[in-house]
């Protein structure tokens, strides 16, 4: 029964993603663009799949807790995005904004690679952090920062990935699945390290090469209403008797 539901969900999701992808890019809505950004963005999709599989292998209460904490993290990241992004990257450090996806990959990878006995305690925290970083990633990549539709579309696909991954891994006690999960966790860590390194190398070079503005040649005087009374040739209201 669970497998049938999972297969049905996968089928519906795949058909939906293909239908959206077949739309010309100019004709897609923000929600559709957000959905594709997650479905076809391996860097965002893989941590979600890992979280779903790990939650599916956990007990029911732990799986539900992971889902709830992911939603809480997503909400927190969506609401407090400005404060969080400011904390992440200051002036001249915009390259750090590209670390959001690598951090999510690293977090989930660590949560999966550790032994199973510790994973049940680490997984809820990983779900919270990944949810928050996912929300930040969606806001950063949204073509319209004032609209919530892009993150909403992405959140819908994220929920689909989590649900289908959890459904397929539920009630599977094969030891090889636990081993495969740890191997997958190492992949996520490797991806996170490589993406983070690429972001630091490429983007920090762009930040450091940004031209700095020259200092102003005329001092600004608020008492004289700025430059209004400044005349190089001495003419003007303030000049003469």
């Amino acid at each position: 029964m669970t497998d049938r539901v999972g297969i049905g969900l996968v089928g519906i999701g795949i058909v939906t993603v293909i239908a959206i992808a077949l739309h010309p890019a100019s004709g897609r809505s923000l929600a559709e663009s957000g959905a594709l950004a997650v479905a076809l963005g391996f860097g965002r999709a893989l941590p979600l799949i890992g979280l779903g599989v790990a939650a599916g292998l956990s007990r029911d209460r732990e799986a539900v807790a992971c889902g709830i904490l992911f939603a809480i993290g997503f909400t927190a990241g969506f609401v407090e995005k400005d404060d969080m992004l400011s904390a992440l990257a200051g002036p001249g450090e915009t390259y750090r904004l590209f670390l959001v996806d690598p951090l999510a990959s690293l977090t989930m990878g660590l949560g999966l690679a550790i032994p199973g006995a510790f994973r049940r305690y680490a997984l809820p925290f990983a779900a919270l952090i990944v949810g928050c970083l996912f929300a930040l990633s969606m806001k950063l990549n949204s073509p319209d920062p004032t609209s919530a539709m892009f993150p909403t579309g992405g959140a819908a696909v994220a929920a689909w990935l989590l649900a289908t991954s959890a459904l397929f891994s539920r009630q599977r006690t094969a030891r090889w699945l636990q081993i495969a999960l740890r191997i997958f966790g190492s992949w996520l860590i490797a991806v996170g390290l490589l993406l983070g390194g690429a972001a630091v190398v490429q983007r920090s070079a762009v930040d450091s090469a940004a031209p700095s503005l020259p200092p102003p040649t005329v001092p600004w005087n608020p008492d004289n209403n700025g430059l209004k009374n400044h005349r190089p040739n001495g003419l003007g209201p303030s000049a003469g008797p």
């Binding site: 391996f42 081993i179 191997i183 997958f184 993406l195 390194g197 690429a198």
Partner: protein, 212 residues
């Protein structure tokens, strides 16, 4: 344990890791003292996204053979090594990739890649089962070489994110393929098929060291 290994063929001497060690040591010294003898690849030119990253380990026979051998060797050793080797390799490979991206100059990468094929193939051929820490250290050294080769190309990729995901996934899948093949070939004929495959991999490595 090594002395009780079955012979590869009737009439052949019993090959053990201990007896083959001087041969490999001599080959190793010959290689590192011979300049420009290795031709394992670091590709040039612009790269794409996920597809390019995914196909890089697959279409590079040197990368493929090494990753494949890691999986077979882990399966041959059995126990924890079935998964500790495929878990360790991508992690250390990422470190090597970072070194490549940062432009650090690591000497002998191409030699290292070719040697990895020879060493891993030889380990399978002689059914060498060292202590886990030794196997992991060996894997780590080779992972740095392979990761560095990938990392050098990553910043030039049109989409570095998808490129990195592509080659990490491809690497992992090749490991899994090697584990599957290693487990399948480990039992028939006392594991001789797996060891013969290791010999073929070793020959491939020697080709990259000297003749490519």
């Amino acid at each position: 344990m090594n002395d009780s290994l079955p012979r590869l063929a009737p009439g052949w001497p019993s090959l053990t890791a201990r007896s083959a060690a001087p041969v490999f040591l001599g080959a190793f010294l010959t290689v590192i003292l011979t300049p420009g003898s290795a031709f394992a690849h670091i590709t040039q030119g612009s790269m794409g996204g996920f597809g390019s990253g995914f196909e890089h380990p697959l279409t590079g026979p040197d990368h493929f053979l090494a990753m494949f051998a890691v999986g077979i060797w882990g399966a041959q050793m059995g126990g924890r090594s079935v998964w500790t080797l495929p878990v360790t390799f991508p992690l250390i490979m990422a470190m090597g990739g970072l070194a490549g991206m940062l432009g650090l100059q690591l000497p002998g990468i191409e030699v290292g890649i070719a040697l990895s094929i020879v060493a891993l193939g030889g380990a399978i051929l002689f059914a060498w089962h060292p202590a886990e820490i030794i196997a992991l250290l060996l894997i780590a050294v080779f992972a740095v070489c392979h990761g560095y080769a990938h990392g050098v190309e990553l910043p030039r990729a049109a989409d570095p994110a998808d490129y990195a995901v592509g080659f990490v996934i491809a690497t992992g899948l090749i490991h899994l393929l090697g584990i599957g093949v290693g487990l399948a070939l480990g039992k028939p004929y006392g594991g001789r098929l797996a060891r013969a495959l290791g010999g073929a991999i070793t020959l491939g490595g020697l080709y990259y060291l000297f003749a490519a």
